[in-house]
Symmetry: C2
Subunit: 106 residues, 2 copies
Protein backbone atom coordinates (compact mmCIF):
# COMPACT_ATOMS: atom_id res chain seq x y z
CA UNK A 1 0.00 0.00 0.00
CA UNK A 2 1.12 3.52 -0.70
CA UNK A 3 2.42 5.31 2.38
CA UNK A 4 1.43 7.27 4.33
CA UNK A 5 -1.65 5.30 5.31
CA UNK A 6 -3.38 4.32 8.52
CA UNK A 7 -4.28 1.06 10.26
CA UNK A 8 -7.20 0.77 12.70
CA UNK A 9 -6.59 -2.13 15.08
CA UNK A 10 -9.85 -3.32 16.63
CA UNK A 11 -9.36 -6.01 19.29
CA UNK A 12 -12.42 -7.43 21.01
CA UNK A 13 -13.81 -10.04 23.35
CA UNK A 14 -17.24 -11.35 22.37
CA UNK A 15 -19.95 -12.97 24.43
CA UNK A 16 -20.98 -16.49 23.42
CA UNK A 17 -24.29 -15.82 21.65
CA UNK A 18 -24.34 -14.97 17.97
CA UNK A 19 -27.58 -12.95 18.05
CA UNK A 20 -27.11 -11.55 14.54
CA UNK A 21 -23.41 -10.84 15.00
CA UNK A 22 -22.05 -12.90 12.08
CA UNK A 23 -24.52 -11.40 9.63
CA UNK A 24 -23.72 -7.86 10.81
CA UNK A 25 -19.95 -8.49 10.67
CA UNK A 26 -20.22 -9.50 7.00
CA UNK A 27 -22.50 -6.54 6.25
CA UNK A 28 -20.14 -4.05 7.91
CA UNK A 29 -17.12 -5.46 6.09
CA UNK A 30 -18.95 -5.10 2.76
CA UNK A 31 -19.98 -1.56 3.67
CA UNK A 32 -16.45 -0.60 4.77
CA UNK A 33 -15.17 -1.65 1.34
CA UNK A 34 -17.40 0.94 -0.34
CA UNK A 35 -16.15 3.88 1.77
CA UNK A 36 -13.87 6.60 0.37
CA UNK A 37 -10.26 6.06 1.43
CA UNK A 38 -10.73 2.36 2.25
CA UNK A 39 -7.62 0.29 1.48
CA UNK A 40 -8.22 -3.15 2.99
CA UNK A 41 -9.34 -5.28 5.93
CA UNK A 42 -8.02 -8.38 7.72
CA UNK A 43 -9.72 -10.36 10.48
CA UNK A 44 -9.19 -13.38 12.72
CA UNK A 45 -10.86 -14.56 15.92
CA UNK A 46 -9.86 -17.16 18.52
CA UNK A 47 -9.96 -16.22 22.21
CA UNK A 48 -9.97 -12.62 21.10
CA UNK A 49 -10.90 -11.09 17.77
CA UNK A 50 -8.54 -8.84 15.86
CA UNK A 51 -9.71 -6.82 12.87
CA UNK A 52 -7.30 -4.46 11.17
CA UNK A 53 -8.67 -2.08 8.56
CA UNK A 54 -6.48 0.16 6.41
CA UNK A 55 -7.32 3.70 5.33
CA UNK A 56 -5.77 6.47 3.26
CA UNK A 57 -6.04 9.11 5.98
CA UNK A 58 -7.63 10.13 9.29
CA UNK A 59 -10.57 11.79 7.55
CA UNK A 60 -11.56 8.48 5.92
CA UNK A 61 -11.44 6.79 9.35
CA UNK A 62 -13.53 9.55 10.95
CA UNK A 63 -16.12 9.35 8.13
CA UNK A 64 -16.40 5.58 8.46
CA UNK A 65 -16.82 5.84 12.24
CA UNK A 66 -19.68 8.30 11.70
CA UNK A 67 -21.41 6.33 8.91
CA UNK A 68 -25.05 5.91 10.01
CA UNK A 69 -25.29 2.14 9.46
CA UNK A 70 -21.90 1.68 11.10
CA UNK A 71 -22.98 3.81 14.09
CA UNK A 72 -26.05 1.59 14.54
CA UNK A 73 -23.78 -1.49 14.43
CA UNK A 74 -21.43 0.07 16.99
CA UNK A 75 -24.32 0.74 19.38
CA UNK A 76 -25.63 -2.81 18.95
CA UNK A 77 -22.10 -4.16 19.39
CA UNK A 78 -21.63 -2.45 22.73
CA UNK A 79 -25.11 -3.54 23.87
CA UNK A 80 -25.33 -7.11 22.58
CA UNK A 81 -22.06 -8.57 21.33
CA UNK A 82 -18.89 -7.26 22.93
CA UNK A 83 -17.73 -7.72 26.49
CA UNK A 84 -14.92 -5.32 25.74
CA UNK A 85 -13.03 -3.86 22.85
CA UNK A 86 -10.08 -1.64 22.15
CA UNK A 87 -9.51 0.61 19.14
CA UNK A 88 -6.12 1.92 18.10
CA UNK A 89 -5.61 4.32 15.20
CA UNK A 90 -2.08 3.99 13.88
CA UNK A 91 0.13 5.56 11.25
CA UNK A 92 1.93 2.86 9.25
CA UNK A 93 5.58 3.94 9.17
CA UNK A 94 7.34 0.89 7.70
CA UNK A 95 6.28 -2.35 6.11
CA UNK A 96 7.77 -5.39 4.46
CA UNK A 97 6.48 -8.60 2.97
CA UNK A 98 7.52 -12.20 2.49
CA UNK A 99 5.76 -14.26 -0.17
CA UNK A 100 6.54 -17.74 -1.46
CA UNK A 101 3.70 -17.58 -3.96
CA UNK A 102 3.95 -15.77 -7.29
CA UNK A 103 2.02 -12.50 -6.96
CA UNK A 104 -1.10 -12.72 -9.16
CA UNK A 105 -1.80 -10.06 -11.75
CA UNK A 106 -4.76 -8.00 -10.67
Amino acid sequence: MKKPYYAVIFTSVRNTTDNGYSEMAIKMEELAKTQPGYLGIESAREEIGITVSYWENLEAIANWKQNADHLAAQIKGAKDWYTKYYVRICLVEREYAFNKEPIPNK
Copy 2:
Protein backbone atom coordinates in the same frame (compact mmCIF):
# COMPACT_ATOMS: atom_id res chain seq x y z
CA MET B 1 -0.72 2.20 27.30
CA LYS B 2 1.30 5.38 27.56
CA LYS B 3 1.65 7.20 24.23
CA PRO B 4 3.68 7.45 22.12
CA TYR B 5 4.10 3.74 21.50
CA TYR B 6 4.28 1.44 18.52
CA ALA B 7 2.29 -1.52 17.21
CA VAL B 8 3.81 -4.20 14.98
CA ILE B 9 1.08 -5.84 12.92
CA PHE B 10 2.19 -9.27 11.68
CA THR B 11 -0.32 -10.92 9.32
CA SER B 12 0.48 -14.35 7.93
CA VAL B 13 -0.74 -17.34 5.98
CA ARG B 14 0.52 -20.69 7.30
CA ASN B 15 0.93 -24.01 5.57
CA THR B 16 -1.06 -26.92 7.02
CA THR B 17 1.68 -28.82 8.86
CA ASP B 18 2.58 -27.91 12.43
CA ASN B 19 6.19 -29.11 12.26
CA GLY B 20 7.15 -27.46 15.55
CA TYR B 21 5.28 -24.22 14.85
CA SER B 22 2.99 -24.18 17.91
CA GLU B 23 5.86 -24.84 20.30
CA MET B 24 7.97 -22.12 18.68
CA ALA B 25 5.08 -19.62 18.70
CA ILE B 26 4.67 -20.05 22.47
CA LYS B 27 8.44 -19.82 23.02
CA MET B 28 8.72 -16.61 20.96
CA GLU B 29 5.79 -15.00 22.77
CA GLU B 30 7.43 -15.79 26.12
CA LEU B 31 10.76 -14.44 24.86
CA ALA B 32 9.16 -11.25 23.49
CA LYS B 33 7.70 -10.56 26.94
CA THR B 34 11.20 -10.42 28.44
CA GLN B 35 12.53 -7.83 25.94
CA PRO B 36 13.23 -4.20 26.91
CA GLY B 37 10.43 -1.92 25.73
CA TYR B 38 7.86 -4.71 25.36
CA LEU B 39 4.32 -3.57 26.18
CA GLY B 40 1.98 -6.39 25.11
CA ILE B 41 0.94 -8.93 22.50
CA GLU B 42 -2.38 -10.08 21.00
CA SER B 43 -2.96 -12.95 18.56
CA ALA B 44 -5.72 -14.74 16.66
CA ARG B 45 -5.71 -17.12 13.72
CA GLU B 46 -8.47 -18.33 11.39
CA GLU B 47 -7.88 -18.21 7.62
CA ILE B 48 -5.06 -15.80 8.31
CA GLY B 49 -3.12 -15.15 11.49
CA ILE B 50 -2.83 -11.69 13.00
CA THR B 51 -0.38 -10.97 15.79
CA VAL B 52 -0.04 -7.44 17.08
CA SER B 53 2.80 -6.68 19.48
CA TYR B 54 3.22 -3.34 21.25
CA TRP B 55 6.53 -1.61 21.96
CA GLU B 56 7.75 1.57 23.63
CA ASN B 57 9.79 2.73 20.63
CA LEU B 58 11.42 1.77 17.32
CA GLU B 59 14.68 0.81 19.03
CA ALA B 60 12.88 -1.87 21.06
CA ILE B 61 11.32 -3.24 17.83
CA ALA B 62 14.70 -3.28 16.06
CA ASN B 63 16.35 -5.04 19.00
CA TRP B 64 13.64 -7.69 19.12
CA LYS B 65 13.92 -8.27 15.37
CA GLN B 66 17.68 -8.85 15.79
CA ASN B 67 17.42 -11.11 18.85
CA ALA B 68 19.39 -14.27 18.01
CA ASP B 69 16.69 -16.78 19.00
CA HIS B 70 14.06 -14.70 17.25
CA LEU B 71 16.22 -14.49 14.08
CA ALA B 72 16.50 -18.30 14.05
CA ALA B 73 12.68 -18.51 14.38
CA GLN B 74 12.22 -16.01 11.54
CA ILE B 75 14.46 -18.06 9.24
CA LYS B 76 12.63 -21.27 10.14
CA GLY B 77 9.30 -19.48 9.67
CA ALA B 78 10.12 -18.41 6.13
CA LYS B 79 11.47 -21.89 5.32
CA ASP B 80 8.95 -24.20 7.02
CA TRP B 81 5.80 -22.45 8.26
CA TYR B 82 4.67 -19.39 6.36
CA THR B 83 3.38 -19.21 2.80
CA LYS B 84 3.45 -15.46 3.13
CA TYR B 85 3.49 -12.74 5.73
CA TYR B 86 3.33 -9.01 6.02
CA VAL B 87 4.84 -6.80 8.73
CA ARG B 88 3.71 -3.26 9.43
CA ILE B 89 5.37 -1.02 12.02
CA CYS B 90 2.91 1.60 13.17
CA LEU B 91 2.82 4.60 15.48
CA VAL B 92 -0.29 4.48 17.68
CA GLU B 93 -1.81 7.97 17.44
CA ARG B 94 -5.19 7.53 19.15
CA GLU B 95 -6.90 4.84 21.17
CA TYR B 96 -10.10 4.22 23.05
CA ALA B 97 -11.64 1.38 24.96
CA PHE B 98 -15.03 -0.07 25.80
CA ASN B 99 -15.33 -2.41 28.76
CA LYS B 100 -18.41 -3.89 30.41
CA GLU B 101 -16.31 -5.64 33.04
CA PRO B 102 -14.95 -3.89 36.10
CA ILE B 103 -11.24 -3.24 35.51
CA PRO B 104 -9.22 -5.46 37.88
CA ASN B 105 -6.58 -3.97 40.16
CA LYS B 106 -3.14 -4.91 38.97
